[in-house]
């Protein structure tokens, strides 16, 4: 109940910046259109590159634009707030609260993600659908399977961003780790190029890393590349990363808490 309240407040907090949201939607749409023309040219020369056809590729571009803010590929969201509070020392108050830090910040980030999915996710996809021929999930079940995969991906992304922010307990400045994480996420999420286009060895590595859950795995569900029992495999993959990474966060937090106490609060 409390976590729902945190999530809905976070949703409302982001929804106050209407101008910024509209500007972001415009920018996402422009970048989406640019990449579509490039991919149309690529798939005209090689009609089944990476096992996609041109409609899959164009759809993938718009799913990518939709996921940038929803999954927070470049970073941001509630872990950034925590990093600022670690630097200022306000994090002590977070430790006092009768709820766990991890659950509190995760709820806030899910609230943010819900807002970004409905605005920065949905709007550019509608624009893309008007400008280009897109492929939509084949049936209601596929819609549902995709809709479940997205929040799971947000949890994985949250845990990674959280780990980067938590380094601030030791480094006091989390810019370095955050930059490196953003770099890895930008490439290994499949936002730079679809992971299916990578040379085979690199592709296998990329598809096993947690960033594959950001875009490639949900996109393959949407496009109907992952069907039937494979979907369960995809879910198991996302959930496994979520559990491992959240576990790592909990561990690091525990050590950080002791460190804060030693410093004298």
């Amino acid at each position: 109940m409390l976590h729902t309240a945190v999530a809905s407040r976070s949703f409302r907090r982001y929804s106050t910046y209407v101008g910024a949201t509209l500007a972001g939607i415009f920018t996402n749409s422009v970048f989406g259109a640019i990449m579509c023309f490039v991919y149309i040219e690529v798939w005209a020369a090689n009609p089944d590159a990476g096992g996609y056809d041109v409609t899959d590729a164009v759809t993938y571009v718009w799913l990518g634009q939709a996921m940038i803010m929803t999954v927070a590929v470049w970073g941001g969201g509630s872990p950034d707030d925590l990093a600022a509070r670690i630097k200022s020392g306000d994090v002590v108050i977070d430790f006092y609260r009768p709820v766990g830090i991890l659950g509190w910040y995760l709820a806030a980030d899910l609230g943010r993600a819900a807002y970004h999915l409905l605005t920065r996710g949905l709007a550019p996809t509608l624009v893309g659908g008007l400008l280009f021929d897109l492929r939509y999930p084949a049936d209601a079940l596929t819609w549902l399977l995709f809709a479940i995969a997205v929040p799971l991906a947000v949890v994985v992304s949250f845990a990674l961003r959280m780990l980067a922010s938590l380094t601030a307990f030791w480094l006091l400045d989390d810019v370095g780790p955050r930059t490196l994480l953003g770099f890895a996420a930008l490439f290994f999420s499949g936002l730079t190029v679809p992971l299916v286009l990578l040379p085979s060895l690199l592709r296998d590595v990329a598809l096993a890393l947690p960033w594959a859950t950001f875009l490639q795995v949900p996109a393959d569900i949407w496009l109907g590349k992952t069907t039937g029992l494979e979907v369960l495999g995809a879910y198991a993959f996302i959930v496994a990363w979520a559990v491992v990474l959240l576990g790592a966060c909990a561990l690091v937090l525990q050590r950080a808490e002791r460190r804060v106490v030693v410093q004298g609060g």
Binding site: A20, I34, F37, V38, E41, V42, A45, A49, D173
Partner: protein, 265 residues
């Protein structure tokens, strides 16, 4: 003009000294920015693992286009990129303080928090440009056009940054819309314009002249006919486009400043 340059240099070197107080942070961000901007080219390179040419252009030719537009935006970003923060300066009332000082306002805004680490982008673009340039059949006129291309390209991006930032005199929180033109313009020109529909190419020539950043001069340097059958005089017209853009941005800036009324706090 000289006075302004001296003032810019003084404020800029002040900030460089300040940022050097945290060398580890400086280098991590510089390396991060170098890797991040280089990722675009890695993406293009991976696309070429799936096709032999893109829009009739080879990888080295696209590298030349990429390097040229990269240098243009990198120089503009280094010197005036800070103007993006105009909205924030207005909100915090810092613009009011700046107006009382005997240094041109634009110089103060652009030199504010001058970040030498942005040089990483120049460095990255230089590497790709130099590599691609070794495949070009150089003559004296082509070399002169190359110099003119980089200067004009920088000035065009410079003007875009400034005129679009002026939107923030009216709406302070929509700075991201400018990205669609600045970074979007950079992304469009990383590819041969043959990839895009001819209406878009005409718009990029006559409405927002981003095509002059690299496309037209590069056609001259690479010894290619205009694929859209536009007059070859355009290939030498980049300085004209740059001059027009500069005039427009000066006008927009003046209008913006005249319109500006403090936040009143």
């Amino acid at each position: 003009m000289v006075d302004a340059a001296v003032a810019y240099y003084r404020i800029g070197s002040l900030w460089v000294r300040a940022s050097m107080a945290y060398p580890a942070s400086f280098w991590m961000m510089a390396v991060g920015s170098f890797l991040m901007t280089g990722l675009d080219f890695v993406g293009i390179w991976i696309l070429f693992g799936n096709v032999d040419d893109l829009g009739g252009f080879s990888l080295t030719e696209i590298g030349f286009l990429y390097g040229a537009t990269g240098l243009g935006i990198a120089f503009a970003d280094l010197f005036v990129g800070r103007v993006e923060r105009l909205g924030q300066m207005i909100r915090f009332g810092r613009l009011d303080t700046m107006m009382t000082k005997p240094v041109p306002l634009l110089v103060q805004v652009c030199a504010d928090e001058f970040a030498l680490r942005r040089f990483a982008r120049v460095f990255q673009a230089t590497i790709v440009f130099t590599w691609a340039a070794t495949y070009v059949d150089w003559t004296l006129p082509r070399a002169l056009v190359a110099v003119e291309m980089v200067v004009s390209g920088s000035l065009i991006f410079f003007s875009l940054f400034i005129s679009l930032a002026c939107i923030q005199f009216w709406t302070a929180d929509s700075s991201e819309a400018a990205n669609a033109f600045t970074y979007g313009g950079n992304t469009v020109t990383q590819f041969p314009l043959t990839v895009f529909p001819s209406e878009i190419v005409k718009a990029l020539t006559f409405v927002v002249p981003i095509a002059f950043v690299n496309w037209y001069p590069a056609l001259f340097i690479l010894g290619r006919e205009d694929p859209f059958g536009l007059p070859s005089a355009l290939q030498l017209a980049s300085p004209v486009a740059a001059a027009v853009m500069l005039a427009v941005s000066a006008l927009v800036w003046r209008t913006g400043v005249r319109h500006y009324r403090s936040t009143g706090s």
